[in-house]
């Protein structure tokens, strides 16, 4: 087995809104090719952690390292370069509502590639087809359902073939079959593109199906109380809170 190569390293991260500390002293490493799960109950700060990882919010303390570069100490050009290798699927899809799906996906391509118009539109159609939305190019986000918005958001996140993909609750609001399809898609993306994938979720089925590493955030002690492969955590983690969460309070 090849030596794991760290992709994102978080050291002593403290997240706060003003003086209200959400989580403190987070330390974990996401390796290249991992499917890394951030889990924890609602409101414990998972989305906020994601915002710290993708450079939308500055840490109150601590570092986020991409490879060997500390994101918040890098100059703006370097940050831009890092962010270009990142794709994000937001919790609500976050499609730009004044543009059609095709325009949404084409925008990053127009910004960062030298492709011609027709090449871009071919890539757009391909990405839409990959997420099962072939033919919806000219729809506006308000004209499609919630699950379709998620998938279109994913197509946009994948537009530039990013090295690392972030997902904020991808399966929330999807029916079980669509959620399963999305999980399969995530695994395929990792296997075929070799992307690193970070997923915020509390769907147990997804956690066990796709995750090979994870952190567990606890709202009471305001820090992470477990990390590792979710399946191993289920078997071995001594902390009762983690166990309760992973067994759905004993019902599984």
């Amino acid at each position: 087995m090849p030596q794991p190569e760290p992709h994102i390293t978080v050291t002593d991260l403290t997240m706060a809104y003003g003086t209200y500390v959400l989580q403190h002293d987070l330390n974990f490493t996401v390796n290249r090719g991992d499917i890394f799960i951030i889990m924890g109950g609602s409101g414990c700060g998972k989305s906020t952690l994601l915002r710290h990882l993708v450079g939308l919010k500055q840490p109150a303390k601590g570092k986020v390292m991409y490879g060997v570069t500390s994101f918040w100490d890098a100059d703006p050009d370097e940050r831009d370069r890092i962010m270009r290798g990142v794709g994000i699927l937001y919790q609500s899809g976050a499609l730009w509502s004044s543009m059609t799906l095709a325009e949404n996906i084409a925008l990053p391509l127009k910004e960062y590639s030298r492709l011609s118009k027709s090449e871009i539109s071919e890539i757009v159609s391909l990405k839409l087809a990959l997420v099962g939305l072939a033919g919806f190019d000219d729809y506006y986000p308000s004209e499609i359902s919630g699950g379709m918005k998620k998938r279109a958001g994913l197509a946009r996140a994948m537009a530039l073939d990013p090295e690392i993909l972030f997902f904020d609750e991808p399966s929330a609001g999807l029916d079980p079959v669509s959620a399963k399809l999305l999980d399969d898609l995530i695994i395929q993306l990792r296997d075929s593109l070799g992307s690193t994938i970070v997923v915020v979720t509390h769907e147990l089925a997804s956690i066990f199906a796709i995750g090979n590493n994870s952190v567990f955030l606890d709202p009471d002690s305001k820090t992470m109380i477990a990390q590792g492969n979710p399946r191993m955590l289920l078997k071995e983690c001594p902390d009762p809170k983690v166990h309760t969460f992973l067994t759905r309070a004993g019902s599984v």
Binding site: L56, M83, S92, A94, L95, W96, S97, L107, E111, Y112
Partner: protein
């Protein structure tokens, strides 16, 4: 302790420290609940209460109204170490009661409303003001930088969006601008006419309306209309994009929201506002003409000539200058409030309101400043 539906809660006399709570009637939130303070007081003050049991033989119906009273009794028992025997209650009620008291209230979860002392609040307000001004200045700085990149041809936004915005804040505003400035011209002329007629100087209504509209009123009226119409729309649009994480998505994609969203809005409004102002000037003069011809018996040509004589290009340029400044101000306030918007529906409402209020205040203050400056310069 009796009310419309006949529900009651009474405490029977104790036998050896065991108190029986007698429940009777149909308990219903809709019918109103009987007061139980007296009964609770009796339990609280009653000496030697060891156990509480329930007698529900006369209870004919219940809902969560009864449950709230029972949780009060349960809390009392908990704090005074009294045993609570719920076996006398209907089965469903027993289960609900168990559920309601199963998880004790988390300490610190309830928000305590602490009112700071007066001086602390004054200090807070001052610091907020300071932070607010700093945010506004940062925003203006960012817009200026974006404008700089536009000048050097590096700014990125969609041309199609710019044209769409120009259409929606220019052409589509024509009807309302038309109506309002026509009426303002009419009103100006009417007020002036009554006074000037006393001296037989009614022809000067044309000068009054012409100079008034062209020099300042046209600009102010369009400014205020656009603050309510377009400034509010900008704030609401950008605010909703903030709520939907659309602005985050732009940022993480390395596309500056300043260039992509704010810049086209600033340009569109700053370009369209003077054009609308010219239109408003014309409409105002038309309103004055209606009064002049209809009420003062002036001839159309006579009115027209008087207007042309009294107006000069200086008035016109000053009016345009006002309106360009208003365009910048309204677009700035709208975009600033939209970008500052929080992440909830009510935050969008606040942002919109605040955008309109700030724009109108800015318009009036700017008018005062420019007027004084013009006066000092003698133009």
């Amino acid at each position: 302790m009796q009310n419309g539906s006949g529900s009651t809660l009474q405490i029977a006399d104790s036998t050896g420290g065991v108190f029986t709570v007698l429940l009777a009637g149909a308990w219903s939130i809709q019918q109103g609940l009987p007061s139980v303070e007296e009964a609770l007081g009796k339990l609280k003050s009653g000496q030697g209460v060891k156990k509480i049991i329930f007698d529900c033989t006369a209870l004919t119906g219940w809902d969560s109204g009864l449950l709230t009273q029972l949780t009060k009794i349960a809390a009392l028992c908990d704090s005074q170490n009294i045993a609570l025997d719920t076996s006398g209650l209907p089965e469903g009620l027993q289960r609900l009661l168990a559920l309601a008291i199963a998880i004790p209230e988390r300490k610190g979860a309830r928000k305590t409303a602490i009112r700071d002392p007066f001086l602390v609040r004054v200090a807070d307000a001052t610091f907020n003001l300071q932070a607010g001004s700093r945010d506004a200045l940062t925003f203006i700085g960012d817009v200026t930088l974006a404008l700089g990149r536009l000048m050097s041809g590096k700014a990125r936004f969609r041309k199609a969006e710019l044209f769409f915005l120009m259409q929606s804040c220019g052409a589509e505003a024509l009807p309302i601008v038309c109506l309002i400035s026509l009426l303002v011209g009419l009103i100006l002329a009417f007020v002036g006419a009554v006074q000037l007629q006393m001296f037989g100087a009614q022809i000067y209504v044309a000068s009054l309306v012409g100079i008034g509209m062209v020099r300042v009123m046209g600009a102010i009226m369009t400014g205020i209309i656009m603050a309510g119409r377009t400034g509010a729309a900008f704030a609401a649009e950008l605010g909703t994009m903030q709520v939907n994480e659309e602005i985050d998505a732009l940022q993480t994609m390395g596309i500056s929201p300043m260039e992509f969203l704010v810049l086209p809005r600033m340009i569109a409004l700053t370009v369209m506002m003077p054009l609308l102002c010219v239109y408003a000037d014309l409409m105002g003069i038309l309103g004055g003409l209606v009064v002049g011809v209809g009420m003062l018996d002036l001839g159309v040509m006579e009115y027209y000539n008087q207007t042309v004589i009294s107006l000069n290009l200086t008035h016109f340029w000053i009016g345009l200058f006002y309106s360009a400044v208003f365009g910048v101000l309204v677009a700035l306030c709208g975009c600033l409030r939209g970008m500052q918007c929080g992440r909830s529906a009510s935050a969008v409402g606040t942002a919109t309101t605040s955008a309109v209020v700030t724009s109108i205040v800015c318009i009036i203050v700017a008018t005062a400043i420019i007027t004084v400056i013009c006066n000092v310069l003698g133009i």
